[in-house]
């Protein structure tokens, strides 16, 4: 039926003004998942404070400007918000069509890291220094492309109604798609990111409805792979030391175990209410290395205490809980898989990051989503939030 241009897309109502569009019952703003957005925003702002506290005395890092990291973290959050809006505007379905381009782009970027363009930071050759104080960690974006790419492949025939569950061929294809960038990241070696990607793949397979054999098989091969890596000595010494120090932090309190020990002291000394922002002696004294990035949780633990650190866990919990709801409520498998991939990513990365500061996980260089300082990670997680929002916005109203 041909209609005039003044009618809306749904063709049942007249065209509305922009304000009315945003305030209408079916508007994007109303359909957004506000708990996720607000929680993510709260985490980012809390992160800004913690990063500020951790860096305001670190003159070697902040170039003499105590607000250097604060403003940068806020700026990253702003860019992240813009990326989220862009993602919502484009929509996850549009992005499904762009997967080949995104996938190719991220492959090129991770490969670039292996060329002389790449730089080594903290033992991991995982960065591309752009200049002007900016650097890019392509591994973060690979997480998104793996999720989108696998979701596209696995859901295609199911969403088309051809199959009840993805068949083995599709699963193999999807695994190959994930394996290529993972292999490259492994070569960097950025083992932490690879671990997250493995968990993402597991989450994606789980949600796709792929045969149990695949899930179990992947788990088994993951364990076998870990053992193999250990046995073959592929790991660098710093990585082995991290594991050894995890097993026994008193091993070498001045050396490898130092991080874990100091992190645990910082968190433990926080108590219920913490020492107050900027008042933590461990933080002010810079006893915890990498405190604005991988060990940012220790600032919360020391200065904001159980209440503040608990709040971070609660906010993460809200995001994950809402993501699970979205995953269940969306009508198409594609959206469900994307959600599950993001859930697996956020959950595992947060668990690994906080777990290592609490001494229940080995040390791996992974940022805490939203909270840790770092542009690439910040952008990636906000794009992920955009994807979650897009899936929610585009679900049927009745749901």
């Amino acid at each position: 039926m041909q209609t005039a241009n003044k009618f809306s897309v749904s063709r049942y109502a007249p065209e509305r003004g922009p304000v009315a569009k945003l305030t209408a019952r079916d508007s994007v703003l109303r359909r957004l998942d506000w708990p996720i957005l607000l929680s993510a925003l709260a985490l980012s702002l809390l992160g800004a404070l913690l990063v500020w506290s951790a860096t305001r005395n670190r003159t070697t890092l902040n170039q003499g400007d105590p607000y250097y990291f604060l403003t940068r973290h806020a700026m990253n959050t702003g860019i992240g918000l813009v990326l989220m809006i862009g993602t919502i505007w484009l929509g996850h379905r549009t992005l499904r069509g762009a997967v080949p381009i995104l996938y190719g782009l991220s492959l090129i970027l991770v490969l670039a890291v292996l060329t002389p363009l790449g730089s080594t930071i903290n033992g991991a050759h995982a960065w591309i220094v752009i200049g002007g104080g900016f650097s890019l960690q392509p591994g973060e974006f690979v997480k998104i492309t793996i999720i989108l790419g696998m979701a596209m492949l696995l859901a295609a025939r199911v969403d088309a109604g051809d199959l009840e569950h993805p068949d083995h061929r599709t699963v193999v294809k999807a695994l190959c798609l994930a394996a290529a960038p993972m292999g490259i990241v492994m070569l960097m070696p950025d083992l932490g990111s690879v671990m997250v990607m493995v968990v993402i793949v597991l989450g994606v397979l789980l949600a796709s409805g792929a045969s149990n054999r695949w899930v179990v098989g992947l788990l088994a091969s993951g364990v076998a792979g870990a053992v193999l890596i250990w046995q073959l000595g592929v790991l660098d010494e710093y990585q082995i030391n991290r594991f050894a120090a995890f097993a026994n932090p008193e091993l070498d309190p001045a050396g490898v175990g130092y991080n874990t020990n100091q992190a645990r002291i910082a968190i433990g000394s926080g108590g219920l209410l913490g020492s107050g922002l900027f008042k933590g002696s461990q933080t002010t004294g810079q006893f915890v290395p990498e405190q604005q990035t991988d060990f940012v949780f220790t600032v919360a633990g020391e200065e904001l205490g159980f209440v503040g650190a608990g709040l971070i866990l609660v906010l993460l919990g809200v995001i994950l809980w809402r993501a699970c709801v979205i995953a269940r409520e969306t009508t198409e498998l594609y959206g469900t898989i994307v959600c599950a991939g993001i859930i697996a990513w956020f959950a595992f990365q947060a668990f690994e990051n906080i777990g290592m500061t609490l001494g229940i996980m080995p040390v791996a260089g992974l940022p805490l989503p939203f909270v840790s300082y770092g542009g690439s990670s910040m952008f990636a997680v906000w794009v992920a939030v955009g994807l979650l929002q897009s899936i929610r916005v585009q679900r049927p109203m009745s749901a």
Partner: protein, 724 residues
């Protein structure tokens, strides 16, 4: 595809999603639980650890209090010196373990590189002095006498001297005012050891690593008061040790000053006269051995008779306590411990033990009176006394007919006491004692405080020995194996002695009892014990614990804690006997064995009492003893291998009295020259700013050799064998 629900999902996916959700939230719960465990349950433990983490202590050593004489003249104080120290922890970081740095340092300081390295090495059982026995984390002083020039050279080139510092530092000083060295009495300091730190950790005066501790003498006895409390500033530091805030500040409390009863002037006189007497004795030929007296050691004690306070205490050979300051050098330590130097570190006034000889006789006199012998009774004084063929001679081999106990003291008649001692021994059953023998002569010695400490406020006091039956038994049990091994019937004297001792060394023989009755044989006393006894005879019978510390005064002079002398007993005699003995001792000074040394003495104004003693030591020359007292002072002097009591020690003791009372040899008193006609009653004042108004002190000018006492009687008839 019939079963696809509205959400477009199969039950399998639905279940999988629930599993995923459960997994995710169990991860979050795990984190929450662990967080609770660390922060709430074990929070205290970690906050303590955090505190230790970021707090660094900086110690400001407390200035050690001075040791003052009775008028406020410092015997030990502090001076500021340029101290060059080396930090071992820094040096050990260098590849060659600091060898290069120390060699360069030696060049700047004009020292031998080896000497510098020796000073910096740590003491252990195999390392001889010099070495550092303090904490390895504390800077080790290399020299306390750097010149400004040297200090500047080091400070201007810190890159050449890593771990080396040159700082003005308060350093102990023993100034020896007026020649009063007082070495063994003052003692010395050395760095605290790890053991001591651990031991004192939970007391109310814990040590810091940087502390110096009194090791001997007054420095040790009054260490706690003198040391004060080091100030500790606790800084919060970051991971690189940079200061980010001040946490706590305990300001240093300077150590209190110790005012002693020692008069530096009298001390100077005593030290000079003791040494002069020993030098003089070495010029005299010993008639028994035919060679000059060795006079290898001596001691003199000057007490206030009425309080037991120590006015002077000297021990010879002596040493300069300043050698200990900043760590003793190898050369000095070797010198102090060499055999030829005869243990100058020992304070012979309280640690030197010898048989007392005849100055002991006041004890058997008292014992006899207590046993029922009348003081004024009539006792035969033959030239010798024999028991079963063994002849015990009067030392002068001279008889005096029948005399009283008082006269026996005056002329020091041995045979009177031989007989009394022998009678009591027989009464107790002789070789085979009755049950619970009275042992009155021995019990009386114990009652006089012999065989026990006088509780002088100095460490390391010796007890001496009363050779009663119980001691003989103990001694025999400890030594009989050795005696029985070396003893030989009909061998040399030593072998014969061992043989006899092996058989019946546990038995009190008649000879033992007889020897003991005149303070010979196995009897051992210290000079301070005898001084305590003679002071008690002077003051009415109270045996005071000799005290050197008179008061502890805080650094600002506001808090004064007086140290009151304590008594450890009364003499075991009634007042009448005490007066009789006192009169007899006056007779010794005016008519008896000491009279020839007190010619011209103003006996009426200042009644002098004396007793001479000459003790035999097997294989050595005789020990000279001289015990004297006036109403105010008691002086006991002894010289090992020095000859007779009055002969060797007499002039020295007289000179000390002359200096105290301002007398010349003719007995004329000039109070303006008198150093201390009455014991010092007041305490010196210490100003709030810590300064002390001490009077000036002039070194002692000994009387000229021409200034001899008017010839009175001369030494009593030259003895054939030994004189007393």
């Amino acid at each position: 595809m019939t079963n696809i629900p509205e959400t477009g999902r199969t039950p399998r996916v639905q279940i999988r999603l629930v599993i995923l959700q459960v997994l995710v939230f169990s991860l979050l719960l795990t984190l929450g639980g662990r967080l609770w465990y660390l922060q709430i349950r074990n929070g205290k433990e970690y906050s303590d650890e955090a505190k230790n983490n970021h707090v660094q202590q900086v110690v400001q050593p407390a200035v050690r209090g001075s040791i003052l004489d009775a008028r406020g003249i410092p015997l030990a104080d502090n001076e500021t010196r340029l101290v060059v120290s080396a930090s071992r922890t820094e040096l050990m970081k260098i590849k060659d373990k600091g060898k290069g740095v120390l060699t360069r340092l030696a060049g700047v300081l004009d020292m031998k590189p080896q000497d510098v390295m020796d000073k910096v090495r740590l003491c252990d059982s195999k390392t001889p002095q010099p070495c550092w026995n303090g904490s390895p984390y504390q800077p080790i002083p290399v020299t306390l006498e750097a010149t400004t020039q040297q200090a500047l050279q080091i400070r201007e080139r810190p890159e050449d001297f890593p771990g080396i510092t040159a700082e003005p530092t308060a350093v102990r000083r023993y100034p020896a005012p007026g020649g009063a060295n007082t070495g063994q009495v003052l003692g010395y300091l050395s760095p605290v050891t790890d053991d001591e730190i651990v031991k004192a950790k939970n007391t109310n005066s814990p040590f810091l690593r940087s502390d110096q501790v009194g090791r001997f003498g007054l420095e040790r006895t009054y260490d706690k008061q003198l040391r004060g409390k080091s100030g500790v500033t606790r800084y919060e530091v970051d991971n690189l040790g940079r200061v980010i805030g001040q946490a706590e500040n305990d300001p240093a409390v300077p150590g209190a000053h110790l005012v002693t009863s020692i008069d530096a002037r009298v001390q100077g006189v005593a030290e000079y006269e003791l040494n002069a007497a020993m030098v003089e004795a070495r010029k005299q030929i010993d008639r028994n051995t035919g060679v000059p007296y060795k006079a290898d050691a001596g001691a003199v004690v000057v007490l206030e008779s009425k309080t037991g306070r120590v006015v002077a205490m000297a021990s010879n050979p002596t040493y300069d306590p300043n050698v200990w300051v900043g760590g003793i050098s190898a050369k000095d330590y070797a010198k102090l411990t060499a055999k030829e130097s005869n243990v100058p570190l020992m304070n012979r006034a309280i640690q030197g033990q010898a048989a007392p000889g005849s100055i002991f006789k006041v004890i058997p006199t008292t014992a006899a009176v207590n046993a029922g012998y009348p003081f004024d009774g009539s006792y035969p004084c033959p030239s010798s006394y024999s028991i079963g063929g063994q002849v015990f001679k009067n030392f002068e081999s001279q008889g005096h007919g029948n005399i009283t106990l008082g006269q026996a003291l005056e002329v020091s008649c041995d045979t009177v006491f031989y007989a009394l001692g022998h009678q009591q021994w027989l009464k107790d059953g002789g070789l085979h004692p009755i049950k619970n023998p009275a042992e009155i002569f021995y019990k009386t010695a114990h009652q006089f405080g012999l065989g026990a400490e006088t509780h002088v406020d100095l460490p390391g006091e010796e007890k001496g020995r009363v050779p009663d039956r119980a001691w003989k038994q103990r001694f025999w049990e400890a030594n009989k194996d050795q005696w029985c091994k070396t003893g030989k019937k009909g061998g040399t004297y030593v072998e014969l002695l061992s043989y006899e001792n092996c058989l019946e060394g546990n038995l009190m023989r008649a000879g033992d009892a007889v020897n003991y009755s005149i303070g010979q044989g196995d009897t051992l006393v210290t000079p301070i014990q005898m001084a305590t006894i003679y002071a008690a005879i002077s003051n009415g019978g109270t045996m005071w614990n000799p005290t050197i510390g008179k008061a502890v005064i805080s650094a600002d002079g506001k808090k004064v804690e007086e140290i009151k002398p304590q008594a450890h007993g009364k003499l075991p005699m009634d007042e009448k006997t005490r007066q009789q003995i006192s009169e007899a001792l006056e007779g010794v000074a005016t008519r008896g064995t000491a009279a020839w040394r007190f010619g011209g003495w103003p006996q009426k104004q200042i009644p002098m009492h004396a007793k001479t003693g000459t003790a035999e030591v097997y294989g050595k020359q005789t020990t000279s003893w001289f015990a004297t007292f006036t109403d105010d002072y008691t002086i006991v002097m002894t010289i090992s291998q020095g000859g007779t009591g009055s002969g060797a020690s007499g002039p020295a003791v007289r000179n000390i009295y002359n200096a105290i009372y301002g007398l010349d040899m003719a007995g004329k008193q000039d109070l303006s020259k008198a150093l201390l006609p009455k014991p010092e009653a007041n305490l010196p004042t210490i100003q709030p700013d810590g300064s002390i108004d001490a009077p000036e002190i002039r070194p002692y000018v000994p009387p000229s050799p021409e200034d001899v006492p008017p010839a009175l009687a001369g030494p009593p008839a030259p003895p054939a064998h030994k004189q007393d």
